[in-house]
């Protein structure tokens, strides 16, 4: 198991955002996370790299382990290096394509230009962006298309050599063709990484996820193989949500 969560509860002030979440996330799989807005999907995801801590009124109880080690006892910067994240809106830093990808490695102490070049090339190839940008590594990242920017953000995350990559609705601002490319990339990445994909689009989960978790009002309602969730869910609420009867 990559991640194991036991009785996770999260509060923001008086808002109880997650209630008694217990689950395991196996390595080298894609876990899809679905649920209506405000059901706690992002909060769940941000628990895994401790990004919730940036919010001042955050509080949590329960046990979250990455490869057996309590994440709250791990050095937070090291944890976030191991657990990368791609956000909903592609947000390249105001730098060139190359510098965006080299950014993380530089920060973590990769000094020589040669080594940086190797890392950038590998990361861009892993994100299936290399062929599209290899001749214009020096152009500002903002000149790329939306889909390319999102894959650039994936490359930026891959460049720090994470074990897990978290995606928070990574395709919400993209057209269907860019979305297909991102999904394709995710499917190929799963050989080397563990992926957690929060999506507001149930079809996306059915296309790429191995297992799918359904959240409702901060509770994990059901977690099972994607096929099972989409054909024969055991909970009525899962069935209603997937059938579009609420949400």
């Amino acid at each position: 198991m990559k991640f194991s969560l036991r009785d996770l509860n999260v509060w923001f002030g008086s808002v109880h955002a997650l209630t008694d979440v217990t689950m395991d996330i196996p390595a080298n799989e894609i876990l899809g996370v679905i649920g209506p807005a405000n059901s706690g999907k992002s909060t769940f995801l941000r628990t895994l790299n401790r990004l919730n801590e940036l919010k001042p009124n955050f509080r949590m109880t329960g046990d979250v382990r990455l490869s057996g080690a309590d994440i709250n006892k791990t050095d937070v910067d090291l944890l976030r290096k191991k657990v990368g994240m791609v956000f909903a809106l592609p947000l390249p830093l105001p730098l060139s394509v190359f510098d965006n990808v080299a950014y993380g490695p530089k920060m973590h102490g990769v000094r020589t230009k040669k080594r940086q070049k190797e890392i950038v090339e590998r990361a861009l190839k892993e994100a299936y962006l290399w062929d599209e940008v290899k001749d214009r590594l020096d152009t500002p990242a903002s000149k790329l298309s939306g889909g390319q920017q999102q894959r650039l953000c994936m490359a930026r995350t891959l460049a720090v050599e994470p074990e897990v990559i978290l995606f928070d609705e990574p395709c919400s601002g993209l057209d269907p063709i860019s979305t297909a490319k991102i999904e394709d990339t995710m499917l190929r990445l799963k050989a080397n990484y563990t992926l957690v994909l929060v999506t507001n689009n149930v079809h996306q989960a059915s296309r790429v996820a191995d297992k799918t978790a359904f959240f409702l009002s901060g509770r994990l309602i059901e977690l099972d193989d994607t096929d099972k969730i989409f054909t024969a869910p055991s909970d009525k609420r899962t069935e209603d949500y997937i059938g579009g009867r609420f949400g």
């Binding site: 790299n49 990004l51 940036l54 001042p56 910067d77 090291l78 944890l79 976030r80 290096k81 191991k82 990368g84 994240m85 956000f87 809106l89 947000l91 830093l93 105001p94 950014y103 993380g104 920060m107 973590h108 953000c153 930026r156 995350t157 720090v160």
Partner: protein, 288 residues
Amino acid sequence: MRRLKEFVLQKIVLLCGVASILFVALIFLFLVKEGLNVFKAVSPSHFLLGRSWYPISEPAQFGILPLILGSLLVTAGATVISVAIGVACAVYIAEVARPAVRETLKVGIELLAAIPSIVLGFIGMVTLVPWVKKIFHLPTGLTALSGSIMLAFMAMPTIVSIAEDALHAVPRSYKEGAYALGATRWQTIHRVILRAASPGIAAAVMLGIGRVIGETMAVMMITGNAAVIPHGILQPVRTLTATIAGEMGEAAVGSEHYYALFAIGTLLFVISFGINVTADLLLHKRRS
């Protein structure tokens, strides 16, 4: 009827806008007209680069290089000090401090802005000047450094509040993006936030300095007021502004001395205009 009202109001506002520009233009013209007269007595290069300012000796000498250098030295010192402290303070307020501390600090800085400059000058004279004298073992504490420190304090409120705005305007997602890559808080601040906010911070510094470059009385009180070419920041200097303020009362209207002071005024006008325009350009760059 409503149309008419709109029309009239619009024209009135336009008139006010035009009037303010007109006034500035007239002031500038007046300064230039009076100032140019000095060049009947002394060539532009002797005026700007002359090393002696003896306006009332016989023959009078109108070289303002010592004054320019005095102003430069005091302002440069103030810039270094206020940038270092002001930016650090803005970062602390915007990124590090807890909400309660943040509010207290903001109030404190607004209070600092509310102290009249002459009062700061007075406090500087009785506290800062003796310290400088003692710490550096100088014959007098009335030095360019004392002026720089005091001007830095005057520029600080402007710098801190505008720089803090610039830091707040950095998209939150940049910050989260950096943290998500495993950046430490310090790496995030100095590689992402400060970098993204740098045009705004530069503008903050320029506006802060623009505000104090015309500062006169307080500087006159604590810089020693000696119109000689300074060889270091620990020497007495005299600034352009202090010269005008100190000598305008004695200069006979229409004398060469009088015109020389106007020429100094013109120079000051051009300098602070240049600084403000640059700051404006920087702020616009940030918006677009």
